[in-house]
């Protein structure tokens, strides 16, 4: 069954398109948090972080509608490649101007 | 095959015509091992408006669900209705029982029996509800069901309280009255 849940909710899980009719669940239902495709292709720009000036306030993490900013144990942000759509909210709301929107694919932590 | 016995009840909304129709059917089914359908004239219930109700009784299961076209018995709880509603279900064979204090002079088909039901209900029941009383007259006159079966039906409907006792009392009195009417006209027996 393609219905097998991923180990963690809302993690990227590989999903091969069903080929057998029985691979579809019997009704419009599916395990929650079962994701297949990345949103990577949505963006033109993405955040480039200057950790030297980062105050670890966490506002970038707070305001990301896509949960694409992850915080390290120490409170520093990293960018989730699969989820960032490049909207720029994190950069706009960073009180220290530690985030700028660079080209997609640029090193996020130069 | 034998045709089911058809009783038509005619009253005004609130007078208990349908309760009487249902009580007769209930007694037939639960206490006389007969089959019955009981149904009201379909539609919204409006207090005071003319109400028909029907009881269809037979020995075998009743499948016919069409309207009653020929009544064996018609019970009229308010004589004033007879001039304003269609009585096409009356035939020369119909026994027409009418609540009236005055002598009956109706230009309608059927054999007519006048009973001062409201006056008697005030006396026996302390109310103007004539349904159990007219049920008693009907059973006495026609012998359609064993009277004890209808008494059981009344007990099942009204429970054990004083209301049941009063209604039973009225029923039996009325039953005697029906028997007397029948003695005067033996052809009325069902």
């Amino acid at each position: 069954m393609t219905d097998t849940p991923p180990d963690q909710p809302c993690q990227l899980a590989p999903f091969a398109r069903s080929r057998q009719i029985d691979d579809w669940p019997p009704s419009p239902q599916r395990n929650s948090g079962a994701l297949a495709t990345s949103n990577r292709g949505w963006r033109i720009r993405w955040p480039v972080l200057d950790l030297a000036t980062c105050s670890r306030c966490g506002l970038c993490f707070l305001y990301c509608p896509d949960a694409a900013i992850l915080l390290s144990q120490e409170g520093y942000p990293t960018v989730a490649d699969d989820w960032c759509k490049g909207c720029g909210l994190c950069a706009a709301e960073c009180p220290k101007d530690s985030i700028r929107m660079g080209e997609d694919g640029e090193d996020t932590q130069p | 095959m034998s045709r089911p016995h058809e009783t038509v009840w005619l009253g005004r909304g609130g007078q208990g015509a349908f309760t009487a129709a249902r009580l007769l059917g209930l007694s037939a089914v639960r206490f006389a091992a007969r089959q019955a359908l009981a149904f009201p004239s379909f539609g919204p219930e409006r207090r005071g408006a003319p109400v028909f109700a029907y009881t269809r009784i037979a020995d075998a299961p009743i499948h016919d669900r069409s309207a009653t076209r020929c009544a064996d018995v018609a019970v009229v709880m308010d004589a004033s209705l007879l001039s304003s509603v269609s009585t096409s279900f009356l035939t020369p064979r119909t026994l027409l029982i009418v609540d009236t204090d005055a002598p009956l002079t109706l230009a309608l088909p059927g054999r007519h029996y006048g009973v001062p039901a409201k006056r008697l209900a005030r006396e026996w029941l302390g109310s103007e509800h004539t349904n159990t009383l007219l049920l008693g007259v009907l059973i006495g006159l026609t012998g359609l069901l064993p009277a004890e079966a209808v008494a059981d039906g009344i007990r099942a409907e009204f429970g054990q309280g004083s209301r049941a006792a009063r209604n039973l009392d009225a029923f039996w009195h009325a039953h005697d009255l029906g028997l007397k009417l029948r003695d005067a006209d033996p052809s009325a027996a069902a």
Binding site: W24, P28, Q29, N31 | V29, A36, F42, D64, R65, A67
Partner: protein, 413 residues
């Protein structure tokens, strides 16, 4: 043991629901269904039924609400009629597409305009494609029995398709008759528990969260719909096995999706549904007594449509006489064509019934009384159908229209 009661169709449904112990009941009144929700309210108040009784603000909400409740894994009930059924039409498709195992009673009633509260079958037949199993009861007893069986069928994990149990408005909903009322323990033994097992598909799961009633794009939608269709087709088998089990447990009831009455040796057969079948039986007995070769086939279920059963009944090996003409009698008209049931029947007969003339009789619209004389007329007309001229006339015959208008009951020239 079971007790004999004197109940209306509506009351029989309410008693059946009480015995099935739904955990959530959504109630919105509409004539002629209202007695059902009133009776259930009384049962909840008196403690005879332990259920969340929810007063909703519309039929749309009633069906949406029981869908939400079913998603938590509990048995539910609601009832409606006519405009109410159409008002919840969107949710009917939702519920069947989501494969929620709901049971709903519908008091068959005419549709406005003209506004009319009396019985006919236009409401449920308008929603024949909504993905619900559609059952039509003839008697109060069958209404009670169908409700109980409906839960068994709907909740069967292989079916998971909602069931609509239809009662003719007033003629059945408001008519009192003898009903054998089972004991609660007997129904408990017959049905699964009213709280579904934790792994019941299509319900929330707190240990393993589920997304239900989801979106599917063009690449997947068709697969879900095909599976829904197959489940409905499979349901026919489950309806029959459930009916056999019911008969074994309670000693009564039809076991097929169609029921014949004196039809095996009848040349002229009326096909109908609902309570009108009862009056047809009486007319058949009368006509048989005068030597006429007439019979009845009653459609107990319109979805899944019993194509094979119907064909077997009409053309099967057990017949002793060949069918010469068929009439389909229904309280419905699909404007500009014919009655919906006639269209269904004709489609079902396409392979095996070629050459048998089928006439469509529309009767009982908006509560019009269907009399024995009307039905006898139908059989007379069926016989006349055999002459070539009548055979090609495919129009609808409005039964009894002559009683109402002086000139004609056929389409103006």
């Amino acid at each position: 043991m079971s007790q004999l009661a004197f109940l209306s169709g509506n009351e029989a449904v309410a008693e059946a629901v009480r015995l099935c112990r739904p955990k959530v009941v959504a109630a919105y009144p509409i004539t002629p269904q209202t007695v059902v929700v009133e009776a259930l309210a009384g049962m909840v108040e008196s403690g005879r039924l332990e259920s969340e009784f929810v007063h909703v603000e519309s039929e749309h909400s009633a069906l949406a609400l029981v869908m939400g409740a079913a998603a938590t894994g509990v048995r539910t009930f609601t009832a409606t009629s006519s405009q109410g059924l159409l008002y919840m039409a969107e949710c009917l498709y939702y519920a069947s597409g989501g494969r929620f195992p709901l049971v709903m009673m519908n008091a068959n009633r005419a549709l406005a305009l003209p506004w009319n509260i009396y019985g006919d079958q236009s409401d449920s037949l308008a929603l024949i494609s909504a993905g619900w199993i559609q059952a039509y009861a003839e008697t109060a007893q069958e209404s009670l029995d169908m409700i109980i069986q409906a839960y068994a069928v709907a909740e069967d994990p292989a079916v998971r398709t909602p069931v609509l149990v239809n009662l003719d408005g007033f003629v059945l909903t408001h008519t009192y008759e003898a009903v054998s009322l089972p004991e609660p323990s007997e129904v408990d033994d017959f049905l699964p528990p009213p709280v579904f097992p934790d792994d019941y598909p299509g319900t929330f799961d707190l240990a393993r969260p589920q997304s239900l009633a989801i979106t599917a794009g063009p690449g997947d939608y068709a697969v879900f719909k095909a599976r829904q269709h197959w489940a409905m087709c499979q349901a026919a088998k489950h309806i029959r096995t459930t009916a056999h089990a019911f008969r074994a447990a309670f000693g009564r009831g039809c076991t097929g999706l169609v029921e014949g009455y004196r039809s095996e040796d009848a040349e002229f057969i009326l096909i109908t549904l609902g309570s009108t079948a009862g009056t047809v039986r009486v007319v058949i007995d009368e006509l048989r007594a005068s030597g006429q070769s007439v019979g009845l086939i009653r459609l107990r279920y319109l979805r899944p449509f019993p194509t094979d059963e119907l064909n077997d009944a009409l053309f099967g090996a057990e017949r002793t006489v060949a069918v010469r003409a068929l009439g389909v009698l229904e309280k419905d008209i699909s404007f500009g064509h014919q009655g919906s049931v006639a269209l269904e029947v004709k489609a079902a007969l396409y392979d095996r019934g070629a050459g048998v003339p089928v006439r469509n009789f529309v009767a009982g619209l908006g509560g019009q009384d269907v009399s024995r004389a009307h039905l006898a007329d139908c059989f007379t007309e069926l016989a006349a159908t055999l002459d070539t001229a009548a055979r090609v006339a495919s129009g609808v015959r409005f039964v009894g229209l002559k009683d109402l208008v002086d000139d004609h009951d056929q389409e103006p020239a």
